[in-house]
């Protein structure tokens, strides 16, 4: 071998070695990239605990999906979650810890209006992007321009329109309101009262009740005495179950054409199974019911159902889990497109672009709520006791509103629909 060839081989060997070392170092550097920390509090106990745990499972599935694909921007996701016990007094402290001690890169709001409302001033003051999680109008007065809610509503009308529209078609003239005395229900009832006023409905009963109410028999008796055409209820899970029970026992009277509206908790599978046929006739809001078609949602729900059985959480997970997975998808889309974790850059992307999610395409208004709401008003029908599987298929919750998803007309009066 000539000296020239030997020299060439020597140089080539050195270059190869250098390349190899560079690759190894680059790989090591990538492997040593700190994870992207995403933090949140989630109600895992207390009245929203059932929904919160199901929602959390969906977010964990998203984190696993992303990490299995190699992470975002070449970095794995580290997901930090604390239980806020559905206690709004705890959430500001938890988020301060997430930001100042855990040093998270991004935050997601806890499920629900009540735990979220107290952290809004904090996120606005610090100029942070906050992905909302089924809150209702928490940004209405704060007006934070980096808030993006995953829930399929925007203002009170978007939530209640379906109920009032069905009521007006039935010729309703009077209405009764029953609302929990807390942030979510009061936001909703104030909007609903305005809608009722615009629709020319006369309010014959108007009751706010404290969240510690033990029994609703007296209130249902008073509703019955007021003889309303419509009964609009805004309640949290514990109250919703107790109210349905009291209605079943006391009855609301023959005058009532529609009952329901904004009852949180009747979307949770364990409650639906427990209440069984007591649910029949109730017209209530929902985010998703079987039969609605979104790309990828059925595949997600099948994966979720397997994990939910192991985790002992809501076995069907129609209400919150797909929308929580969608939070992850929106963050993923924004981070991948902008190649940034800067909150302003991400917020700008979320504001200007349509998000592709398993709950359909989402475009946000300036206030961070959905530009085109998709709140479903559905009537429970033909529900029997102690049967989980009945809720897997379409038909037990007949969609009355919105029009594109409608699967039937309302059955009224309420007492007739209960049979």
């Amino acid at each position: 071998m000539s000296d020239a060839i030997k020299g060439l081989l020597h140089v080539a060997g050195r270059m190869l070695g250098a390349l190899l070392i560079t690759c190894v170092l680059a790989g090591a550097a990538a492997a040593q990239q700190p994870p992207i920390k995403i933090g949140m509090s989630m109600p895992q106990t207390g009245t929203l605990g059932g929904g919160g745990q199901a929602a959390l499972l969906a977010l964990r599935i998203w984190v696993e999906d992303v990490n299995n694909k190699g992470g975002l921007l070449g970095r794995k996701i580290d997901f930090i979650v604390y239980d806020d016990q559905t206690n709004p007094a705890l959430t500001p402290g938890i988020y301060t810890k997430l930001l100042d001690v855990d040093k998270v890169d991004l935050i997601i709001a806890p499920y629900g209006t009540v735990p979220t409302a107290p952290i809004m001033p904090l996120v606005k003051q610090r100029g942070l992007l906050l992905m909302g999680n089924f809150s209702f109008q928490v940004n209405r007065t704060v007006k934070h321009d980096m808030w993006f809610n995953n829930s399929p509503w925007n203002d009170a009308a978007s939530w209640s329109d379906g109920f009032f529209e069905a009521g007006q078609k039935l010729g309703a003239k009077t209405i009764a309101f029953l609302a929990a005395d807390q942030e979510f229900a009061q936001n909703l009832v104030n909007g609903a009262r305005e809608l009722a006023h615009k629709a020319g409905l006369t309010t014959v009963y108007n009751q706010n009740y404290p969240p510690t109410t033990v029994d609703f028999s007296s209130m249902i008796r008073a509703v019955r005495a007021a003889k309303p055409d419509l009964v609009f209820v805004m309640s949290y899970p514990n109250d919703s179950v107790a109210i349905v029970r009291a209605v079943n026992e006391i009855g609301v009277g023959d005058s009532v054409k529609l009952f329901g509206g904004g009852m949180v908790g009747l979307q949770f599978t364990p409650n639906m199974v427990s209440l069984g046929k007591s649910l029949n006739g109730i017209v209530n809001y929902n985010s998703y019911v079987p039969g609605m078609k979104y790309p990828g949602i059925e595949e997600f729900l099948a994966r979720y159902a397997k994990r939910a059985a192991e985790a002992k959480v809501d076995p069907l997970g129609f209400y919150l889990p797909p929308f929580n997975y969608a939070i992850g998808q929106m963050l993923e889309q924004a981070i991948t497109a902008t190649k940034s974790l800067d909150h302003k850059v991400l917020a700008d992307y979320l504001r200007k672009n349509e998000m592709k999610t398993i709950v359909g395409p989402i475009r946000f208004r300036a206030d961070g709520e959905w530009a085109t709401p998709r709140v479903v008003q559905a009537q429970f029908r033909g529900v029997v006791d102690k049967n989980l599987d009945q809720f897997r298929k379409p038909g037990k919750q007949v969609v009355l509103y919105p029009e594109p998803y409608k699967t039937g007309d309302v059955i009224a009066p309420f007492e007739k629909a209960r049979k």
């Binding site: 895992q44 008796r221 007021a226």
Partner: protein, 290 residues
């Protein structure tokens, strides 16, 4: 909107709910009222009783029968808890009260977290023929579950009252509340009597817990809803008075119901503490306290 019908209904519902309040408070009346134990875990034991009832109900047991069957197990549990509390806190001196509070806080968290781990956070309901139906009297419909809870609560309260006043052990429990040293001089062991009494107070929570889950759905942190009400009933009644507990429960139930129906539900929680403040102002020893 006022009508005599609504007022009548409010009073009837108030009596039913008030008797239930008495039932969930009577164990505390023994533990806190008679034994001077700062038993803030009392509502957590109630919820534990509800969950045990739920488990038996899943196997076809009637909730009331389940509550009665659970009483001996809760008696033993209560005796063990008191023994631990006595050995680690009460025996060691005058600061036992404050440290005891920390102990019972710990018990609350253990029960809550234990229930979450075993049952999850979803609400639990029981089934029985008298749940979900009502008794019609004229134009009034009374939920049968409240009537059953009323009857059982009445029997429980009267039974415990008779036990404490008519039996030897019952009178010993009252004696230990009045003068522990004198009881010791009589040759009785006050610690054993207090242990037995705490056991009874806990046994009562098994049945009261069954009533709790009959009246409404239960979740692991439900105890927090009842802590204020139960202490209010016991103090309003006069510490250690069983008949006073019944009367205080009824007063609270009827007042809440009338306020809720005629003035607005938002004012109902203020009733308990408003009544308590008035009582402490004009009769600090409570309705039947000495």
């Amino acid at each position: 909107m006022f009508s005599l019908d609504l007022l009548r209904d409010a009073i009837v519902f108030g009596l039913l709910v008030g008797c239930f309040y008495a039932a969930v408070s009577i164990g505390l009346s023994v533990a806190f009222g008679l034994l001077d134990v700062p038993h803030i875990a009392h509502p957590a034991f109630l919820v534990l009783g509800s969950y045990c009832t739920y488990v038996l109900n899943q196997h076809g047991w009637d909730p009331i029968v389940a509550g009665i069957v659970l009483m001996p197990a809760f008696l033993l549990l209560g005796m063990m808890v008191y023994r631990f509390y006595y050995e680690t806190f009460e025996k060691r001196g005058t600061e036992a009260g404050v440290r005891g509070l920390a102990f019972f806080f710990g018990v609350v968290f253990i029960i809550e977290v234990g229930l979450v781990l075993v049952f999850g956070v979803d609400q639990r309901l029981v089934e029985a023929d008298y749940i979900g139906t009502s008794l019609t009297l004229g134009d009034m419909r009374l939920p049968l579950r409240l009537i059953v809870a009323f009857a059982v609560a009445l029997v429980l309260t009267i039974g415990l009252s008779l036990y404490l006043s008519k039996t030897f052990t019952g009178r010993a429990i009252k004696a230990v509340a009045q003068d522990e040293a004198a009881l010791r001089l009589m040759g009785a062991n006050p610690v054993r009597i207090k242990q037995w009494a705490f056991g009874i107070a806990t046994a009562v929570t098994a049945l009261a817990g069954a009533l709790l889950i009959i009246v409404g759905p239960v979740e692991p942190t439900m105890d927090r809803v009842y802590i204020g009400r139960t202490f209010c009933v016991v103090v309003l009644a006069g510490l250690g008075s069983m008949s006073g507990t019944l009367v205080a429960g009824l007063i609270l139930g009827v007042s809440e119901s009338i306020v809720l129906t005629l003035l607005g539900a938002s004012w109902a929680p203020a009733v308990a503490f408003g009544l308590l403040l008035i009582m402490l102002g004009i009769r600090p020893q409570g309705l039947f306290g000495r």
